[in-house]
C-alpha cells in the first residue's frame, strides 16, 4: 500500500531535528570552570582555536529521546494514510482552449505534471481523461497511462478565443462516475462554481496588440487602419512595421499609456494583394500580427424592375453596398427587385428576388401588434414602430415562411421557388409608400441582410479579412472539384463537405486560401487577425489552485488512516517526558 500524508505541511516538523542539533551544540556555551591544573592544559596544543563556539554533538539519551519525539511529532502532524489496494478514481482534466493560455503554455506544461502525479498517488488505479474546453475538439487522451496524457498535453495548443467553457465542464463532470475529480486548467483566477477543481499557473502579464482593423477606399486610394491597444497596467513604447511580400517598411515608434488605444494606418499599395502589420513581440504574440488582404467582395448584379418609391428606396440602398452592379436584364441578374402580381404562383425564376405588392392592389385592414418571427434575417430588429394599416393584397401560399406579422396577417415573408429551393424570395406584403418602413432601421437591415445572403450564396471568388474562428460561408459549384485549404501558402487539408458547410477561419492569425479543383482556382482569399479583447487582457490572469481541497477528499476516500495513531500520540507525550527525566538524571 502506498503511503500518503494528509497534512504534508506537518513534515516541516522534521526541521526540529536540525533545530535540536543546533540547540545541543549552541547551548553548550563555554562553561566557567575553575581549574588548578591549567598550567598542564596550557602546554597542550589546542586542536581547534576557531571553532570554540561549536561543540561536537555528543550522543546522549536525552538527545536521542528528543529526536524520537520530533519524529513522532512529525509522523502525527503529517497524518499518514495508507492507500487501499482496491481504490480507483477518475480524473478528467479540462484544458482551457482560450488563446490567452498560449502565453502560459510553458508554465502549464511545467506545473501540471507534478500535480497530476500527486493525484495519481491518491489511488491505486486512476482513469485519466484529457479534453479541452473546445467542445468541437476530440478527446486528447483517455486511459490509465499518465505518461501518455502528459505527452498529449505537450502537443496541445489552445485555439479558441473567449468562449463559454461551462458545456465542457458539464461534459467532464458527466464523465466522472463515482469517485473522481474534474480539473479545469485555465489562466484566470476567478473561482468556479460547483464541483470542478481549478488550476492556474498563469500570472499577470503586460500585453499590447491589435484589437481591430478596417480597410477603406477613398479617392481611389485604399488605406488600412488598425487599432492597437495596451492591455497592461504600465505604459509601453514599441515599434511596428509593415511587411509586404519579402520587404519590410522602416520601423515606426509607438507609445501607449496603460489601457490606451491608438490608431495606426497606411496606404495599401496598389500592387500588393496582401500585407502584414507586425508589432514588436511580447508575451502574447498572437495579437502582434495583423494579416490583411486587399478586399475583393463578390460582385452582385441587381436588376431593378420595380418603379415608384420602391425603386427609389432600392437605388438608395444599393448605393451604400459595395460591388453592386445594376443590370437591365433580369436574366443576367443575381438579384431582382420586382413587384409581385396578386395572382402570383410559384414560377421558375433565375435568381432570388425582393418583391413588393403590385401598385393599386387592395389590401386587408390590419389590426394587432407587429411581431417578428425568430429568423436570422430579422433577428434583433425592432418592428413595433412599423405603421402599416393594410396588407399589399398578396395572398399567402403554402410554404411561405413569415418573418413579420401584424395580427394574423404576414407582412413580410419568404417565398420558396421551385427552381431555387435554397434561395427564397423576400416578399413585402404591404405598400411601402403607405407606411413608415423606409424610415425604420429594421427595414433597411432586413434588406441588407437579404442582399448579403444572396451575395454569400453566389459561387464566386472573393477576398476578405476575417477574425480567428470567424464563420465564413462558402458557396461553390460542386461540379468544379473539391475544396482545399491553404494556410500561408501551404496546403493544410482538403475540406470535407461538412467543413464546407460550416467553415471557420483558422485559429491563429495567418493568410489562407481556399481553392477548388486546381490551385489556380482561388475561391476565397483571406487574412485572419486576432482581436479578442477578453483574451488579450492578460493583466487579469493569476494563479489559482482549488485542487488541494479535492485532493483531501480523494485521499480520505481512497486511503485508510494509520492504525497506530494512538500509539504515536502516546509516544509523543511520553518521549519528551522521558527526555526531560533523562536530562535531569544526567545533570
Amino acid at each position: 500500500m502506498n503511503l500518503l500524508f494528509e497534512n504534508p505541511v506537518g513534515l516541516w516538523a522534521l526541521l526540529g531535528i536540525p533545530a535540536l542539533i543546533a540547540i545541543h551544540t549552541l547551548q553548550a556555551r563555554a562553561r566557567h570552570t575553575r581549574a588548578s591544573t591549567l598550567f598542564l592544559l596550557e602546554h597542550l596544543a589546542p586542536e581547534s582555536r576557531s571553532g570554540w563556539h561549536w561543540e561536537r554533538l555528543r550522543s546522549s539519551l536525552p538527545l536521542w529521546l528528543q529526536f524520537l519525539a520530533v519524529l513522532a511529532l512529525t509522523w502525527v502532524l503529517a497524518a499518514p494514510r495508507w492507500v487501499r489496494e482496491e481504490s480507483s478514481q477518475q480524473v478528467v482534466v479540462v484544458l482551457d482552449a482560450s488563446l490567452s493560455m498560449s502565453a502560459f503554455l510553458e508554465a502549464t506544461r511545467a506545473g501540471l505534471p507534478p500535480r497530476l502525479r500527486k493525484l495519481e498517488a491518491l489511488a491505486a488505479e486512476t482513469e485519466w481523461t484529457l479534453v479541452e474546453s473546445n467542445m468541437r475538439a476530440p478527446t486528447l487522451y483517455r486511459g490509465r497511462d499518465l505518461g501518455a496524457l502528459l505527452r498529449a498535453l505537450e502537443g496541445w495548443a489552445p485555439t479558441l478565443g473567449g468562449h463559454d467553457f461551462t458545456p465542457a465542464l458539464q461534459f467532464a463532470t458527466s464523465l466522472v462516475r463515482g469517485n473522481g475529480v474534474v480539473v479545469f486548467v485555465t489562466d484566470h483566477a476567478e473561482p468556479l462554481p460547483g464541483g470542478p477543481a481549478m488550476l492556474s499557473f498563469a500570472k499577470p502579464q503586460e500585453n499590447t496588440g491589435f484589437v481591430g482593423s478596417s480597410i477603406e477606399e477613398k479617392d481611389g486610394t485604399l488605406t488600412w487602419r488598425a487599432l492597437v491597444r495596451n492591455h497592461g497596467v504600465a505604459a509601453r513604447s514599441l515599434e511596428w512595421h509593415v511587411k509586404i511580400g519579402d520587404g519590410e517598411t522602416v520601423p515606426n515608434k509607438l507609445t501607449l499609456a496603460a489601457g490606451e488605444t491608438q490608431i495606426i494606418g497606411g496606404v495599401f499599395p496598389s500592387n500588393a494583394p496582401r500585407l502584414s502589420v507586425q508589432l514588436q513581440r511580447d508575451a502574447f504574440p498572437v495579437d502582434d500580427v495583423l494579416p490583411l488582404v486587399r478586399p475583393r467582395p463578390k460582385p452582385l448584379r441587381v436588376a431593378l424592375t420595380v418603379d415608384g418609391p420602391e425603386r427609389e428606396i432600392a437605388t438608395r440602398l444599393l448605393r451604400g453596398i459595395s460591388a453592386v452592379q445594376t443590370v437591365n436584364t433580369p436574366a443576367k441578374a443575381d438579384l431582382l427587385f420586382a413587384r409581385l402580381p396578386q395572382d402570383d404562383t410559384p414560377a421558375t425564376r433565375s435568381c432570388p428576388a425582393i418583391f413588393f405588392p403590385a401598385m393599386g392592389t387592395p389590401g386587408e385592414k390590419l389590426q394587432g401588434w407587429v411581431v417578428a418571427e425568430k429568423h436570422n434575417l430579422v433577428a434583433d430588429t425592432a418592428w413595433q414602430s412599423l405603421v402599416c394599416a393594410e396588407t399589399g393584397g398578396i395572398k399567402p401560399q403554402t410554404g411561405d415562411h413569415s418573418l413579420v406579422w401584424r395580427g394574423g396577417a404576414p407582412l413580410i415573408f419568404l417565398r420558396q421557388d421551385r427552381a431555387l429551393p435554397a434561395a427564397p424570395s423576400l416578399v413585402f406584403n404591404f405598400h411601402i409608400p403607405g407606411t413608415n418602413a423606409a424610415r425604420i432601421p429594421a427595414f433597411v437591415v432586413l434588406l441588407r441582410r437579404y442582399i448579403e445572403k444572396v451575395r454569400e450564396d453566389l459561387p464566386m471568388p472573393q477576398a476578405l479579412n476575417a477574425t480567428t474562428h470567424q464563420a465564413i460561408p462558402l458557396a461553390c459549384d460542386p461540379a468544379q472539384g473539391s475544396l482545399s485549404l491553404r494556410i500561408d501558402g501551404e496546403v493544410v487539408q482538403p475540406l470535407s463537405p461538412a467543413q464546407t458547410a460550416v467553415f471557420r477561419a483558422p485559429a491563429r492569425p495567418c493568410f489562407f486560401q481556399i481553392t477548388q479543383g486546381s490551385p489556380e482556382n482561388i475561391l476565397l482569399e483571406a487574412g485572419v487577425q486576432f482581436s479578442d479583447l477578453r483574451e488579450a487582457a492578460l493583466k487579469d490572469c493569476g494563479l489559482a489552485d482549488t485542487l488541494v481541497l479535492h485532493e483531501k477528499t480523494l485521499m480520505r476516500t481512497n486511503s485508510l488512516p494509520d492504525p497506530l495513531r494512538r500509539l504515536w500520540l502516546t509516544l509523543l507525550l511520553a518521549l519528551p517526558l522521558a527526555a526531560w527525566i533523562a536530562s535531569q538524571r544526567s545533570v
Partner: protein
C-alpha cells in the same frame, strides 16, 4: 597509625649513643675510646670503632602549601586540613618538636601550633601574599631545622624539577611529601567549550576541550606526578598522594602506608 614513640626513642639518621648497633669504621684520633671494639682489636690488631644509632628528640617541620589550588573544592579543602591535623597530631603524640609553616609561592609564614589545632578557624584563612603557584614553593628558603623530619603537605600543582625536593633531605633531614588531590584534577571530565579560570593567577582562558585533548591532559597529569615521584625517590623522600574523595584512613592506607610515608602505630 602515625609516627609513634616516646621521647628519646626516635632514632636519628646520625650515629649516637643509643644501644642500637649501626656500623663499624676505623678509629680516628679523638674518637670516644669507649666505643672501640676490643674483640675486633684482639682478632685483627687494629682499632675498630663500633657505631651506634644516635638517639634524638625528633623534630618535625610541617610545611603546608596554602596556595588556592589546595582549596579548589570543599572535598580537597577538608582533606588538606585533615592531612595537616593528622601530621600535627602525630608529631605531638610522638613528643616531637613541631614547627608549622604555611607557604604560598615565595612567602612563608610561621603558624603557631595552637592556632593550627584550633578548630574554630582555619590557620590560613587569611591568604598570604605571594607569587603564583607556577613559581612553586620556596622550599629552598624554608626554615627547616637541622635533622628534622620535614613533612610537606602540598598538591604539587606547579612545575617541578628533579632537585625541587632536595631541601627536604638537606641538613640530615628526612622528607615526607603528602599530596592531597581530588578527582576533579585527575579526571576532570571536561568536554566542549570551557572558560577556564586559573585559581592561582586568576587568569582566564577560553578553551574547547575535545576528548583527545582531555586524554592528553590526563596523560600530562600522570607524567607530572611521575616527575615528582622520581624527584622524591632521588632524594630519599617518602612520597604519597592522598585522595580527597573517600574515607581518610582508607586513603592513607592506599598509598601513604605502602610508600612508608607513615607507619602503623
Amino acid at each position: 597509625m602515625a609516627w609513634r614513640g616516646l621521647h628519646g626513642q626516635f632514632a636519628s639518621m646520625g650515629t649516637g649513643s643509643s644501644l642500637d648497633f649501626q656500623d663499624h669504621r676505623p678509629y680516628f684520633p679523638g674518637d670516644d675510646p669507649r666505643h672501640i671494639n676490643w674483640q675486633a682489636y684482639a682478632r685483627t690488631g687494629s682499632y675498630t670503632m663500633k657505631l651506634y644509632r644516635q638517639e634524638v628528640s625528633p623534630r618535625v617541620d610541617l610545611f603546608v602549601d596554602i596556595s588556592p589550588s589546595m582549596f579548589l573544592v570543599p572535598e580537597k579543602r577538608a582533606r588538606v586540613l585533615a592531612v595537616v591535623v593528622f601530621c600535627a597530631e602525630s608529631a605531638l603524640r610522638l613528643g616531637a618538636s613541631l614547627q608549622v609553616h604555611a607557604a604560598h609561592g615565595s612567602h612563608v609564614e610561621f603558624v603557631p601550633v595552637e592556632r593550627l589545632l584550633c578548630a574554630e578557624e582555619e590557620p590560613w584563612q587569611k591568604r598570604l601574599p605571594g607569587k603564583t603557584a607556577e613559581h612553586g614553593l620556596a622550599l629552598a628558603t624554608a626554615p627547616f631545622r637541622h635533622g628534622s623530619l620535614r613533612v610537606l603537605v602540598s598538591d604539587l600543582l606547579f612545575p617541578g624539577g628533579s632537585d625541587a625536593l632536595r631541601p627536604l633531605a638537606a641538613g640530615q633531614g628526612r622528607g615526607v611529601v603528602l599530596v592531597p588531590w581530588c578527582a576533579l584534577e585527575a579526571a576532570p571530565g571536561w568536554a566542549g567549550n570551557h572558560y577556564f579560570e586559573d585559581v592561582e593567577s586568576g587568569n582566564r582562558e577560553r578553551r574547547r576541550v575535545t576528548p583527545s585533548l582531555l586524554r592528553r591532559y590526563e596523560d600530562a597529569y600522570a607524567r607530572h606526578f611521575g616527575t615528582w615521584r622520581d624527584a622524591a625517590r632521588r632524594h630519599g623522600v617518602r612520597f604519597a598522594r592522598v585522595c580527597a574523595e573517600g574515607d581518610f584512613i582508607q586513603m592513607l592506607r592506599q598509598e601513604a602506608l605502602p610508600a612508608g610515608a607513615i607507619s602503623p602505630g
